[in-house]
């Protein structure tokens, strides 16, 4: 291998500065230059579209003449039902975006370039969230494109100008983005891919089910109430469909059996609290610990 000696750098480098827009660009380059990230996103789009077609095939099996409100509700709910699976992918991705830097040592390069650390941490979280949201939107569009003809065969055609339908669909993209963001905070706290993924998947998808099983066997209301406030449970509020024909919001609080009942607003507040908690803990540890 031949190597030239150093040529003096252009004088223009005297004016370079570390900047937040620069960190955003850097994180965007990092995100798209890893195969694993790209594959996660492709998988999210394919899975959303695939699920929607499967659901559309079974929609309105009786071939009834449905009122428009029922058709809207059906499409909004069937299109977001894949959220559990795609949320899982988003969670893994969110953890890996940060834990991968710790396990490979890349984090040292990142924090040497941005020694304040929190600006890089914020840029990374922001890029992850925005890109995942956009991928979520693309998934929804792909799902609509793939499933609307199939729904139509079963006599179901949604009114896409209906704001309730749109809010639920856009909300499903937001759910993916925020699941990724919350998982990112787990990755930042644990700095380890296996631990981060186990925690994220556990908190979001396994514990709610697991605790509900405990509840069904023991009848312990505390178990049910914990399951209710876990991020995986409250996060679903993001793609909840509130159009005509859905049930009225329940009364918030503990019901006669001591079971916690939340409405959509409270679910969103608790979900946001989880994210803030995770991100703040991650930021404090990021700043404090040796890299």
């Amino acid at each position: 291998m031949t190597t030239a000696t150093a040529t003096p750098a252009p004088r223009s480098l005297d004016s370079i500065r570390l900047s937040f827009p620069g960190l955003i660009r850097s994180e965007w380059i990092k995100l798209r230059s890893l195969r694993s990230t790209v594959w996660c996103y492709v998988l999210i789009i394919l899975a959303t579209a695939g699920f929607s077609v499967l659901m559309a095939l079974s929609a309105n099996f009786g071939g009834d003449d449905l009122p428009q409100a029922a058709q809207n509700s059906m499409v909004a709910q069937y299109l977001t039902v894949g959220g559990n699976f795609t949320g899982l992918i988003a969670a893994v991705l969110g953890v890996l975006v940060i834990s991968g830097e710790y396990t490979t040592g890349m984090i040292r390069t990142t924090y040497t370039a941005a020694p304040g650390r929190l600006s890089a941490y914020t840029a990374k979280a922001l890029v992850l969230t925005v890109v995942t949201f956009i991928v979520g939107l693309i998934s929804v569009v792909a799902a609509l494109a793939a499933s609307i003809p199939v729904f139509a065969l079963n006599g179901v055609s949604p009114d896409l100008s209906n704001p309730d339908v749109l809010i639920a669909l856009i909300g499903s993209a937001g759910y993916l983005a925020l699941i990724a963001l919350l998982s990112f905070s787990f990755g930042a706290i644990l700095r380890n891919s296996a631990g981060g993924i186990a925690t994220a998947v556990g908190m979001l998808f396994v514990l709610p089910v697991g605790i509900n099983i405990v509840y069904s066997f023991t009848g312990a209301t505390w178990a049910a109430n914990i399951a209710t406030i876990l991020p995986g449970s409250v996060g679903a509020a993001l793609y909840q469909y509130n159009g005509e024909g859905t049930e009225a919001a329940p009364a918030v609080g503990f019901n006669a059996d001591g079971i916690l009942v939340l409405d959509q607003a409270w679910m969103l507040i608790i979900f946001a609290a989880w994210i803030v908690l995770g991100l703040v803990a991650g930021a404090i540890l990021t700043k404090r610990r040796d890299a």
């Binding site: 291998m1 031949t2 190597t3 030239a4 000696t5 150093a6 040529t7 003096p8 750098a9 252009p10 223009s12 480098l13 005297d14 370079i16 500065r17 570390l18 900047s19 620069g22 960190l23 660009r25 850097s26 994180e27 380059i29 990092k30 230059s33 890893l34 195969r35 694993s36 991968g100 830097e101 490979t104 040592g105 890349m106 984090i107 040292r108 390069t109 924090y111 040497t112 370039a113 941005a114 020694p115 304040g116 890089a120 404090r288 040796d290 890299a291």
Partner: protein
Amino acid sequence: MIELQHLSKRYGSKLAVDDISATIRPGMVTGFLGPNGAGKSTTMRMIVGLDHPTSGSATVNGRRYQNSAAPLHEVGALLEAKAVHTGRSAQNHLLALAATHGIPKKRVHEVIEMTGLGSVARKRVGGFSLGMGQRLGIAAALLGDPHTLILDEPVNGLDPEGVLWVRRLTRQLADEGRTVFLSSHLMSEMAQTADHVIVLGRGKIIADAPMTDIIAASTGNLVHVRTPQTADLARLLTAPDVSVTSRENGLLEVSGIDARQIGESAASHGIVLHELTPVNASLEDAYLQLTNDAVEYRTEEVR
């Protein structure tokens, strides 16, 4: 210029760096020499803010590295362990790094050429050899055209040609007026690269001197003299700045006076000499002596 002031780092019960103070000046290559585990890498990580000092401080050009407006233009660092995501190509790694400071793409291609990575720049770093990884680390360090370079064991894993290249490169960077601080656990490497050396052992500075002084001090001329009349010769040579020791019967080790003078004195007093040999203690010997008390992981003596 790098200034270390009473810098210490403790990991649990282990004091990795123990109250060191030193100034690393621009325009020369300063070597940071010490056996494995001496605390070199820890010190370097503290300079760039990756590890928080337990006490004391490190500044670069008068301020903490964390307060620089353009950290990559201030310091270029090659850290010991690979600090690259294995799934990314070398080029994308450098492009992402360059983006943080708005460094033009042209400069990325320049450092790729400069470090001889042209043919592998688009390959994933995971498949790189140790030497390639070092070259990429050096490319990243040079990217921001930094005033100060911190290179932790830069020749590790490089082929002989690469070693020469690093030597020439560090010399050139120092000649351009930059501060160059590089570590090694090999004295021979340092002797050929550094103008000034800071020797570290068990977290403490053992020596901080120009390379020439270290070499002179360590290779103070020693002469082996074999004679049947050791007592007579020893008496004859004794003087304030001459030291005479005897390790085995019939052999004297004399320092502070050269072989020619010993031979002439012996001849004029009729003392028979069987051997008269100037011995150059090797640099490695000197280094081992210097750090003897401070070796962290002593290899088991082979018997």
